[in-house]
Symmetry: C2
Protein backbone atom coordinates (compact mmCIF):
# COMPACT_ATOMS: atom_id res chain seq x y z
CA UNK A 1 0.00 0.00 0.00
CA UNK A 2 1.21 3.50 -0.86
CA UNK A 3 -0.27 6.54 0.89
CA UNK A 4 -0.13 9.88 -0.92
CA UNK A 5 -0.42 13.15 1.03
CA UNK A 6 -0.81 16.08 -1.38
CA UNK A 7 -1.08 19.42 0.43
CA UNK A 8 -1.97 22.72 -1.25
CA UNK A 9 -2.46 26.28 -0.08
CA UNK A 10 -5.50 27.47 -2.02
CA UNK A 11 -6.33 31.09 -2.89
CA UNK A 12 -9.12 32.41 -0.60
CA UNK A 13 -11.44 33.38 -3.44
CA UNK A 14 -10.88 30.07 -5.25
CA UNK A 15 -11.54 27.72 -2.34
CA UNK A 16 -15.06 26.65 -3.33
CA UNK A 17 -14.01 26.09 -6.94
CA UNK A 18 -11.04 23.99 -5.75
CA UNK A 19 -13.22 21.85 -3.50
CA UNK A 20 -15.81 21.23 -6.21
CA UNK A 21 -13.14 20.12 -8.70
CA UNK A 22 -11.47 17.99 -6.02
CA UNK A 23 -14.75 16.24 -5.24
CA UNK A 24 -15.24 15.36 -8.90
CA UNK A 25 -11.68 14.00 -9.03
CA UNK A 26 -12.27 11.94 -5.87
CA UNK A 27 -15.59 10.52 -7.02
CA UNK A 28 -14.09 9.27 -10.27
CA UNK A 29 -10.80 8.11 -8.74
CA UNK A 30 -12.56 6.00 -6.11
CA UNK A 31 -13.97 3.88 -8.94
CA UNK A 32 -10.49 2.99 -10.21
CA UNK A 33 -8.97 -0.43 -9.65
CA UNK A 34 -6.28 -0.20 -6.98
CA UNK A 35 -7.76 2.82 -5.20
CA UNK A 36 -8.25 1.88 -1.53
CA UNK A 37 -9.35 5.32 -0.32
CA UNK A 38 -9.25 8.93 -1.52
CA UNK A 39 -10.25 11.79 0.76
CA UNK A 40 -10.10 15.58 0.92
CA UNK A 41 -9.12 17.26 4.18
CA UNK A 42 -9.13 20.90 5.28
CA UNK A 43 -6.85 22.27 8.00
CA UNK A 44 -8.82 23.18 11.13
CA UNK A 45 -6.55 26.13 11.93
CA UNK A 46 -5.96 27.40 8.38
CA UNK A 47 -8.82 26.67 5.93
CA UNK A 48 -6.59 27.63 2.99
CA UNK A 49 -4.63 24.39 3.51
CA UNK A 50 -6.47 21.64 1.64
CA UNK A 51 -4.97 18.17 1.34
CA UNK A 52 -5.71 14.98 -0.52
CA UNK A 53 -4.90 11.79 1.37
CA UNK A 54 -5.04 8.72 -0.86
CA UNK A 55 -4.30 5.02 -0.39
CA UNK A 56 -3.33 2.97 -3.44
CA UNK A 57 -2.56 -0.73 -3.73
CA UNK A 58 0.79 -0.18 -5.49
CA UNK A 59 2.77 2.10 -7.80
CA UNK A 60 1.16 0.53 -10.86
CA UNK A 61 -2.28 1.68 -9.67
CA UNK A 62 -0.91 5.22 -9.22
CA UNK A 63 0.65 5.17 -12.71
CA UNK A 64 -2.70 4.16 -14.21
CA UNK A 65 -4.48 6.84 -12.14
CA UNK A 66 -2.14 9.50 -13.52
CA UNK A 67 -3.16 8.54 -17.06
CA UNK A 68 -6.93 8.69 -16.57
CA UNK A 69 -9.07 11.28 -18.34
CA UNK A 70 -10.28 12.81 -15.07
CA UNK A 71 -6.74 13.13 -13.63
CA UNK A 72 -5.30 14.70 -16.80
CA UNK A 73 -8.25 17.09 -17.15
CA UNK A 74 -8.78 18.19 -13.51
CA UNK A 75 -5.29 18.26 -11.93
CA UNK A 76 -3.91 20.96 -14.29
CA UNK A 77 -6.89 23.16 -13.36
CA UNK A 78 -5.70 23.24 -9.74
CA UNK A 79 -2.56 25.18 -10.68
CA UNK A 80 -4.34 28.54 -11.02
CA UNK A 81 -6.31 28.03 -7.80
CA UNK A 82 -3.26 27.51 -5.57
CA UNK A 83 -1.05 30.12 -3.91
CA UNK A 84 2.00 28.05 -4.84
CA UNK A 85 2.97 24.61 -6.10
CA UNK A 86 1.69 21.97 -3.71
CA UNK A 87 3.70 19.48 -1.64
CA UNK A 88 3.29 15.81 -2.50
CA UNK A 89 4.68 12.92 -0.43
CA UNK A 90 4.40 9.23 -1.27
CA UNK A 91 4.64 7.07 1.85
CA UNK A 92 4.94 3.47 2.91
CA UNK A 93 3.92 2.47 6.42
CA UNK A 94 6.93 1.70 8.64
Amino acid sequence: MIRIVAQSVVKDDKREEYIQLAKELIEKSKQEQGCISYGLFQDINNPSIITFIEDWEDQNAIDLHNKTEHFKRIVPLFADLRVSKGDVNLYREV
Copy 2:
Protein backbone atom coordinates in the same frame (compact mmCIF):
# COMPACT_ATOMS: atom_id res chain seq x y z
CA MET B 1 -13.11 12.68 13.31
CA ILE B 2 -9.88 14.69 13.30
CA ARG B 3 -6.90 13.51 11.25
CA ILE B 4 -3.45 14.66 12.35
CA VAL B 5 -0.55 14.65 9.88
CA ALA B 6 2.74 15.31 11.70
CA GLN B 7 5.73 15.37 9.36
CA SER B 8 9.37 15.47 10.49
CA VAL B 9 12.73 15.49 8.75
CA VAL B 10 14.86 13.16 10.88
CA LYS B 11 18.66 13.23 11.17
CA ASP B 12 20.20 10.39 9.14
CA ASP B 13 22.08 8.88 12.06
CA LYS B 14 19.06 9.13 14.36
CA ARG B 15 16.51 7.47 12.09
CA GLU B 16 16.43 4.07 13.80
CA GLU B 17 16.20 5.66 17.25
CA TYR B 18 13.34 7.87 16.04
CA ILE B 19 11.43 4.91 14.60
CA GLN B 20 11.83 2.83 17.76
CA LEU B 21 10.53 5.65 19.97
CA ALA B 22 7.70 6.32 17.50
CA LYS B 23 6.64 2.68 17.59
CA GLU B 24 6.46 2.74 21.38
CA LEU B 25 4.35 5.92 21.21
CA ILE B 26 2.04 4.35 18.64
CA GLU B 27 1.60 1.08 20.53
CA LYS B 28 0.55 2.92 23.70
CA SER B 29 -1.54 5.57 21.91
CA LYS B 30 -3.58 2.95 20.05
CA GLN B 31 -4.85 1.72 23.41
CA GLU B 32 -6.30 5.13 24.27
CA GLN B 33 -10.01 5.81 24.13
CA GLY B 34 -10.82 7.93 21.09
CA CYS B 35 -7.85 6.76 19.01
CA ILE B 36 -9.21 5.41 15.72
CA SER B 37 -5.84 4.79 14.05
CA TYR B 38 -2.21 5.83 14.53
CA GLY B 39 0.42 4.99 11.93
CA LEU B 40 4.02 5.83 11.02
CA PHE B 41 4.92 6.50 7.38
CA GLN B 42 8.25 6.99 5.63
CA ASP B 43 8.64 8.93 2.36
CA ILE B 44 9.47 6.59 -0.53
CA ASN B 45 11.66 9.21 -2.22
CA ASN B 46 13.30 10.69 0.90
CA PRO B 47 13.62 8.28 3.85
CA SER B 48 14.50 11.19 6.17
CA ILE B 49 10.87 12.33 5.98
CA ILE B 50 8.91 10.39 8.60
CA THR B 51 5.29 11.20 9.32
CA PHE B 52 2.66 10.22 11.85
CA ILE B 53 -0.88 10.02 10.51
CA GLU B 54 -3.46 9.70 13.27
CA ASP B 55 -7.25 9.61 13.40
CA TRP B 56 -8.98 10.71 16.60
CA GLU B 57 -12.66 10.80 17.46
CA ASP B 58 -12.62 14.45 18.55
CA GLN B 59 -10.53 17.26 20.06
CA ASN B 60 -11.21 15.97 23.58
CA ALA B 61 -9.50 12.67 22.72
CA ILE B 62 -6.46 14.61 21.41
CA ASP B 63 -6.35 16.76 24.55
CA LEU B 64 -6.33 13.62 26.72
CA HIS B 65 -3.66 12.03 24.47
CA ASN B 66 -1.43 15.08 24.92
CA LYS B 67 -1.59 14.60 28.70
CA THR B 68 -0.65 10.90 28.78
CA GLU B 69 2.58 9.70 30.36
CA HIS B 70 3.83 8.20 27.06
CA PHE B 71 3.12 11.39 25.06
CA LYS B 72 4.77 13.69 27.62
CA ARG B 73 7.78 11.38 27.95
CA ILE B 74 8.42 10.39 24.32
CA VAL B 75 7.45 13.46 22.22
CA PRO B 76 10.10 15.79 23.77
CA LEU B 77 12.76 13.16 22.93
CA PHE B 78 12.00 13.63 19.20
CA ALA B 79 13.31 17.22 19.27
CA ASP B 80 16.99 16.22 19.24
CA LEU B 81 16.45 13.61 16.51
CA ARG B 82 14.94 16.01 13.97
CA VAL B 83 16.68 18.34 11.53
CA SER B 84 14.14 21.05 12.37
CA LYS B 85 10.81 21.53 14.07
CA GLY B 86 8.18 19.31 12.45
CA ASP B 87 5.03 20.37 10.62
CA VAL B 88 1.72 19.42 12.21
CA ASN B 89 -1.68 19.79 10.56
CA LEU B 90 -5.05 18.96 12.11
CA TYR B 91 -7.65 18.16 9.48
CA ARG B 92 -11.35 17.55 9.09
CA GLU B 93 -12.60 15.72 6.02
CA VAL B 94 -14.37 18.02 3.56
